[in-house]
Symmetry: C2
Subunit: 283 residues, 2 copies
């Protein structure tokens, strides 16, 4: 049995937006998430769920508040699921010293190093525990799942889909950390969560390294703003582009002049992402 609790629910675009919590077996903590159930799923139809992974410092609220995605999800008949970015409330020494590591910065991987390994298991949480919870408690199809995200969450979406393409049927990303093993955010996270010596573990959580050895069987959509303040230092879409060319991955990488790293960028292109997922999930 699950221990799902509903913190609040709101009518939204003829559907229902709910904020929920449960005790995760992966993280050993209460984990919060938001679910938008589109109108047709309130009428008894099971629909594909599209999972959103947020970036550093964000929570399960960020995407549903800032991205403006519910309108088109209601129309297309997609469920939206947004989870938190890390376990919270553990008070592990060092988990709150920086905004780019620990709380709010779980990097969607399963940590192997002390003291993180028992709780920082966002990889398995997103790939398996959360979908199982959603499919048991909401009108979500178990045979069609999409995943997307922003920045750290764009990294998480690409890596999750590439690692387990039998479980994920569509994937996309906004301004993802494309090559975390090569940039400061990723090196800090991987060094602490996975250890400095285990380069094979790093490769398993790096989209550009993974993609050289395997392909996701459908087109990936990635949007990147060219005025993104983290483009040069942290994001490296050119590494993903090169990996896709090397392995034959179908990748639609769009570069948008003038756009930055914010949700103003995400909301501007979120409709294209929902359409991308709808094409692959509803075909």
């Amino acid at each position: 049995m699950t221990n799902l609790t509903t913190r609040s629910e709101h009518a939204c675009f003829g559907g229902r937006l709910g904020f929920h919590a449960h005790t995760s077996t992966e993280t050993g903590t209460e984990m919060r998430f938001a679910v938008f159930t589109p109108p047709r799923a309130l009428q008894g139809e099971k629909v594909p769920a599209l999972y959103y992974l947020a970036g550093l410092t964000c929570t399960e609220e960020t995407f549903v508040i800032k991205a403006g995605a519910q309108r088109l999800a209601a129309e297309l008949g997609l469920m939206l699921v947004a989870c938190d970015t890390s376990p919270r409330g553990l008070d592990i020494p060092g988990d709150s010293d920086a905004w780019d590591f620990g709380v709010g910065a779980g990097f969607y991987l399963d940590a192997t190093q002390a003291p993180w390994a028992p709780h920082y298991r966002m990889g398995s949480y997103v790939n398996a525990e959360l979908p199982a919870l959603i499919e048991s408690n909401f009108p979500a199809r178990a045979d069609r799942r999409g995943i997307f995200g922003h920045s750290m969450g764009g990294h998480g979406a690409l890596v999750t889909a590439l690692r387990d393409p039998d479980r994920w049927h569509s994937a996309s990303a906004f301004a993802p950390i494309c090559n975390p093993a090569a940039v400061p955010w990723g090196q800090k996270a991987f060094g602490n969560y996975l250890g400095d010596q285990d380069r094979a573990a790093w490769e398993r959580y790096d989209a550009s390294l993974l993609m050289r050895a395997r392909v996701f069987p459908r087109e990936l959509l990635v949007d990147q703003g060219m005025s993104d303040q983290f483009l040069e230092s942290q994001l490296h879409p050119q590494a993903l582009d090169a990996a896709a060319k090397a392995s034959g991955q179908s990748l639609r990488l769009r570069r948008h002049a003038g756009y930055d790293h914010s949700y103003w960028f995400i909301q501007s292109f979120v409709a294209d992402h929902l359409q991308h997922h709808a094409r692959q999930l509803l075909s």
Copy 2:
């Protein structure tokens, strides 16, 4: 000359979202506001501006973050302007004791009572100072202005348009405080800002009382959720409806089953409001 400063700017839906500040002569404080400039106005065309007044506790950020309005404003060619809900930083005794009075609760009126009168002048700020600033510094038409808002801001939008229909060409509201003189939020605000004795002043800031004596020359649109937690105690759309019938005001009052007082309600119907304003502003 103005003293306009730009705090940040972001590309958004092909337009530009800016967060700005200036020193207001009405309030004597720094006032912040947000402006969304649609794509066609970046290309040199002057467009109508649609002013949004937010509710209790909100800021100039609330609407542009939560309402999802930029998408359609970009398409329709409407500028969006969102201001703050009161002066801030004055530290007037009693201005921060409650969430429904003082800071974040200016009620879009000009206070007449000490200690509020010198600074709490959101009525004139919204009706005149802010539009003059916008029209001098952004590509906004001076002959077409729309106004809308939520809750306290719905009250403000209706009252502003009714009081000065030569300046305002379209108006609408989400869950407005329709009859503030008759409900606790309004009585607290009016009693403090306008005094307990001056009922004529109260009438000048109450949409349902104003509307019995005058009409706005075009249709007003008001949306109200029927699961709104403040409907019975604070909002009283039936008073506005009765006033409209008494004076012959054209009023489209829509009641929506299941919707609450939140921005999940606003985002669900904001497109209808933008279309309403576009019809009146662009015709």
